[in-house]
Symmetry: D2
Subunit: 264 residues, 4 copies
């Protein structure tokens, strides 16, 4: 049986005349775009454009809501009322759905951005607020989260479809957390090393820690980055290595409709 | 047969700690709320709240998109690329739909705000862009416009449901345009005068100019204002006078599904 | 010898068409305005206008910088790079100086707003960043802070002129901290109670805790609020009671040039 | 006697994580930076950084205020109340002065950006408002404008120091206006052609139209662009050609203190 996996990346993070990231390169690599929704990045025009290009490539798309913080690119932690947070997320999902309608493409998932995601991985109230927002806008949306976090817990508690992601260019500790960035080697910049590891994780259907330990953590999607040329190369080679290993790269919804990797 | 009319007002124009308008008073007067969508006013929380309160009152709601101009409250004319304008409008409609989902209420119409509306009444490219945005997001949306304008023309050209509005507190010229504000008496501040005129217009099913001439211009909705205490009183008495005259005040969608006033 | 004290309040916190607070009432009560600088509230027009009105009243003015957070009115804690924070504060001080130039009035002090102030009272890095910003823009500016905090420490470390404030409508614990808001009675809403306590504190030249203990904490300024009618009344009566007690109400710079209350 | 000329460019137009333009290249070419002030581009950090780098290069700097329009990069024409416009400009000048204080560098001029500049070249009310703002903040500031416009007229009327600029990469008509962009050849992209023309204009001390006619229009500064690689090369070669022709490139204030080119 063919093994399948999804690959996702954050896209459409420019704003007006400001360009950022490597959307054009990523469109050849990933099968799922997390589209910025105008708060930490993105504007209505680029949201529509990336949705259109994703549709042409047979990709799936998701809303990628962030804090209302363009200057900080959504990377500043903001302590806001939980209701405000919930409605801010819902607002962005709705805006994304509108822009996707131009491409006749359904928004199929939601993935939180940057500091919002980081905070919600550890703060139950934030995670619950995001899950409520997703459910309120469209209960059929998939919530793409990092396994082992409050986001996973909240998604399951509220009964949303859950997809888990693993990072192509980050190492893991034995407890399933990411190795802190300050530790040497925590970010994998060697494309060959990354590609080899990714193939192993996908074919063994589990996250593998930097200790070599195979963790009992499944995932549906591989997250790649486009911020720098190096990250794009890591993504490109990982994809090629998966194809060479006969892994099929599919849009996110096909992962949840199909036999799950490492099913629970 | 009972005559029906809709009454609409702009609402939810506050932002964060900033309060503006008279939403609570208007909720007792109108049957349709045009809800600001976060650009010229409004934030996700107030959008949700007014949608909820409108639902409880059996009202219909619409997206009320404006320029991205909080400082100017959407009253500054902005000359932007027509594509940017179109996507800006679509974005706001989608955001409004998301917030309305909390109230299990469909967004049933769109009405442009302030300078955006004013410009689009006379600029064909802006009017067409707004009409395209409405259609792209949801082709079943009603477009609420001022009759005799590019907005009406664009709405008909693209094949959207059209609703026309007349102003309770503004006088009209014989050609169907509003009397310019600089002319004495163009804004009706006497609630009794307004109420009497409104009843006459609704029962005679036509706009009546300040010359007394009955114009061949139909309308589906009366627009009232909540900016000042005086405007609210004009709205309140107009509504009461209509009820006394046995006119039924209905949500906007019921106007288009029913026998139209002054049908064409 | 006449006892002197300053009274300060946050002002100019509206934005465009949005009005908030009670600037007109406060202009009759205080001698020093902390003027919002366009980030958490305030726009160039209202900054200029309040500076002008303050000049006409013989008041002193200060820049009142806050987080770049209009939606949250500067009350959301934001964790940003310390350099970004420093430059954000400097930017606002400069903008305020420009608007004050219309009134031929010098900006004589800086007081941080809301969550920025709260965070900097306990975070040394934030306090130091704010102090550096003040010094970089104009080393002769007075820094108005709450005594016993990192803000006071940072101001002294960097060698800026320091002014301390006490709250007219908040009670204190024996250690000089504010009684938490959740404790009954921590916010003084009875204008007579507030006025009596204020006169006692000013004439005894020390903060008095709710236990009745006289603390060894001096202050140069009394902070009053204008958010609600009740707060304005507390401010008004406090001022009147001080005048009855022959206390002279002076602009902030006169406090530091004169014999200090409770000199150390 | 050595002929002198200034070269200026718009800089610091990035925002947060967004980079734009070619500041590093331009710092080697120009002697004067027009620094974006946080509205159409620029943030407090980049404003400070470019001021610092300009100081290290012996350059002069100016505030480069624009409309409050980050999405449109200040290129959308906005019709706002003239008072709002004036205070918006003053606000930005003050903010720039604050950021320049970090580099111990005086802001020596103001040059309006994009659509604001374009509108003010033809609208007397906008030009007067900008001139009033400059004068209110610091009457010793130089106003850098395009000759033959309402901006020049307003600057002279109000009595500010005036500097005129000519474009290195745009051709002129016989009446001194820029050749419209839609006309082939109106933008000079050939660096050799530009360099030759610039040397001729500077040594003959007059703008030369594309007809070859020598116009009776003096200028103090050459404006170069950094938006694209081609524009930077045009700027670089123009500077080199001027040096080869023994023209001295000086900061803007030295142009007005010295014998003026083509004095009137």
């Amino acid at each position: 049986m063919t093994i399948r996996i999804n690959i996702n990346a954050d896209m459409a993070e420019g704003f007006g005349d400001y360009d950022i990231g490597n959307d054009t390169a990523l469109l050849e690599i990933v099968k799922t775009a997390n589209i910025a929704c105008g708060m930490h990045g993105g504007d209505p025009g680029i949201m529509r454009e990336v949705a259109q290009r994703a549709a042409e490539k047979g990709m799936s798309i998701g809303a990628h809501p962030g804090f209302d913080d363009l200057w900080g690119f959504g990377r500043r932690q903001i302590d806001m009322k939980v209701d405000d947070l919930e409605y801010l997320v819902a607002y962005q999902i709705g805006a994304m759905q509108a822009m996707a309608s131009y491409a006749n493409l359904e928004v199929s998932h939601v993935k939180a951005h940057g500091a919002l995601n980081n905070m919600a991985c550890v703060r139950a109230d934030y995670a619950d607020a995001i899950a409520r927002a997703v459910k309120a806008v469209d209960a059929s949306l998939i919530h793409l989260v990092m396994p082992g976090t409050e986001m996973e817990r909240a998604t399951q508690d509220i009964g949303l479809s859950l997809a888990r992601e693993a990072f192509v260019d980050r190492t893991y500790e034995d407890d399933g957390t990411l190795t802190p960035r300050k530790i040497e080697g925590s970010v994998i910049r060697d494309a060959d090393v990354a590609a080899e590891r990714v193939v192993k994780m996908v074919t063994e259907q589990a996250i593998i820690a930097r200790s070599g330990k195979k963790l009992d953590i499944s995932f549906d999607s591989l997250c790649v980055h486009g911020d720098e040329a190096g990250a794009v190369e890591v993504a490109r080679r990982s994809r090629r290595a998966l194809e060479v290993a006969d892994v099929e790269i599919v849009p996110l919804p096909q992962m949840l409709g199909s036999v799950r990797i490492n099913p629970e």
